[in-house]
């Protein structure tokens, strides 16, 4: 009984230390705010997702056409709009990149320098 209670107390103490560890490690941090994406970064993420989606679709279409799963007619119908989508996604990303200063976060760090 006593042995079990001692072990239980030990377990509770270890758990408390583990839970408190972030505060023990950094008692007075420079910043305690969460490192979240700002609006510009979220917009950029959406554009990157859209670009990757279009590129992947184009790649799959090319391969399916090569294997014969997609006929020449269907390929010709589909490839044009897909290429335009890729181009427009890249263009939108280019536009975002040109307005880069606005994508910096509140603390003035450029993207890529996040910890």
């Amino acid at each position: 009984m006593t042995e079990a209670l001692v072990l239980a107390a030990l377990l509770a103490v270890v758990c408390v230390v583990v839970v408190a560890f972030p505060f023990l490690k950094e008692p007075e941090p420079e910043s305690d705010s969460l490192d979240e994406l700002d609006e510009a970064e979220r917009r950029r993420l959406e554009l990157l997702e859209s670009r990757d989606r279009s590129l992947a679709a184009l790649k799959e279409l090319e391969f399916d056409h090569r294997t014969g799963t997609i006929s020449d007619d269907d390929y010709r119908t589909l490839v044009g709009p897909l290429r335009r989508e890729v181009a427009s996604a890249l263009q939108a990303l280019g536009g975002e990149a040109n307005s880069e200063p606005s994508s910096q976060d509140g603390e003035g760090r450029p993207p890529g320098e996040r910890s």
Binding site: V19, I70, D74, L78
Partner: protein, 664 residues
Amino acid sequence: MAELGRAALVVTLGLTTYALVAGAAAAHLGRRRLALSAQNALVAAFFSTLVASGVLLAALLRHDFSFTYVARTTSEALPTGYTVSAFWGGQEGSLLLWLLVLTGFGALAVRLNRGWARDLIVWVVPVFATVAVFFSFLVVAVASPFAVQPAPPDGAGMTPSLQNPYMLAHPPLLYLGYVGLTVPFAFALAALLSGRTDERWLIATRRWTLVAWTALGIGQLLGAHWAYVEVGWGGYYAWDPVENAALMPWLAATAFLHSVMIQEKRGMLRVWNVLLVILAFSLSLFGTFLTRSGVVNSIHSFTQSSIGPWFLAFIAFTVAVSLALLFRRLPQLRSPTRLESPVSREAAFLYNNLLLLALCLTILWGVVYPLISEAVRGEAVVLGRSYFDFFLRVFGLPLLLLMGIGPLIAWRKASLRSLVTTFRWPTTVALVTGAVLVVLGAGSSVPGLVTYTFAAFVVATIVMEFSRGTRARKALGAVSWPGAFHSLISRNRRRYGGYVVHAAIVLLAIGIAGSSAFDTVAEAKLRPGESMDVGRYTLAYRSLDERQVENATEIRATLAVSRGDRDLGTLEAGKNAYTIEQQVSNEVGIRSDRLTGEDLFVIAEQIDPDGAVYFRVFVKPLVNLIWIAGLVFVLGSAIALWPDAREQRRLVARAREVGVPATR
């Protein structure tokens, strides 16, 4: 040591409650250290639950009958393997296992994703913790595995049907599946709570969903094999409410795994995907409720307990909160693209989803109907096998056909001319197969014939996809044919792993159709020396023997089996009388033909004192394809789950471009 187990669970409850409150506060207020602290609490909860599990396992292995749970589920004579399986053989232990897997998955999911999706993880922690609080509360306050009593000299033993090697793997796999569905649910809700409805929640969870789905699928198949060899009624799936309870979330997860591709490829079905994740998780909770509440009569259910209302309340809470959050985020989840044509791959996936969901909801209706009829009319009306079989055919056969159609249609839209060209070969193969089968006499069952014809169509499309793809890879510069084949799969593991899973489903369909639509049954009461004919087999009853094993008395009738002039050896069928448990079980005799996949299945229904035995004998064509399908299913899932270095690089590059940490 029961005190240590109890204390460890109280610590788990404290930690999960802290993870919930601190996690929610951190996410709301944007506090970094508090968020990390909540994440640590979730990880620590896993270790404290592990301690509690260790205490219970030690008590089981030591046969410490002062633990009420140990005394109720085991005995001194129970073999060690089954003593270990008693951990999940009873209500309280299985809830503890659930909590252990839940906290383990939570800790792992947070650990693996906190680098690249940390703004999402901040919200995942309180969602996960909410579920963990519920289960830890149950094992602390409602159904504790650490209740103690004055130790009796021996335990009550284990239900005989659970004394089977399958019980070592079947329930834990189902738990991995059920609990695994918490991960996509937690990420989906985190996306709704945080408003981060980009693709990251899908990317973070699709492997988890695949793992949970695979575990649930294999768990069910093992359960079916257990029913086949152990329960001794001649079948493998009885549409039992608890069996259905595992099938429903699997169907919802199957729908999700297909529709998630439409979101990834076309950015469509965002609301639908969240709904499917909520449905799959809610159904996994509902399944647990059915097993534990005692509201349905099932071979799988635990005894009547007070746990039902708690589950019902939690399911209601989960569904209400999830739907409210979904409603709140509807504007953000609107799809930027629309379905361009009803003849396209995304449309085929959508039809697949609708059929899967229709089948899932039909089964749900079949499960809840007896409960509703009892509540309304005071009499439980059970929907029988014919109800479920009918809807399996209505929705299952088109689903089977769609497995062959979907992969061969172009995304966005396909022309009629293209369809004719693409489907020329698979259709020819299917029609020839159907015609040959009619000639061979398979026309006696129309659903069986249609299943085989559709199966041939799907197999033809799968073979075509692999052969064309390999040829294309070879043309693109692969040095050898095996190299081209390897390159084909490794460049798109999900697609080709998916085809292998489709092949498994085809085997499953052929096995089910063969064993149910074309089976033969015969019954006879035989005395030693007499014989009976079943299909092409002749069974001669030779002798009845009795022998004592570790925990039971085995009574076996020996039958000599022959087919035509060919002697096929002997087969034993009989009963086990369990001394401690005071129960008798059927022990069936099965002879499998490895070449044809056919089983000769013998049940000794009744054994008279004078040695006469009432036998029921089945011949089940192709039934072994069902179990082979399990192996192919695991292979396909493993291919799809295998880490994809190219995709990892793409995700890392994307993360870098945005400026978020790229570690996963």
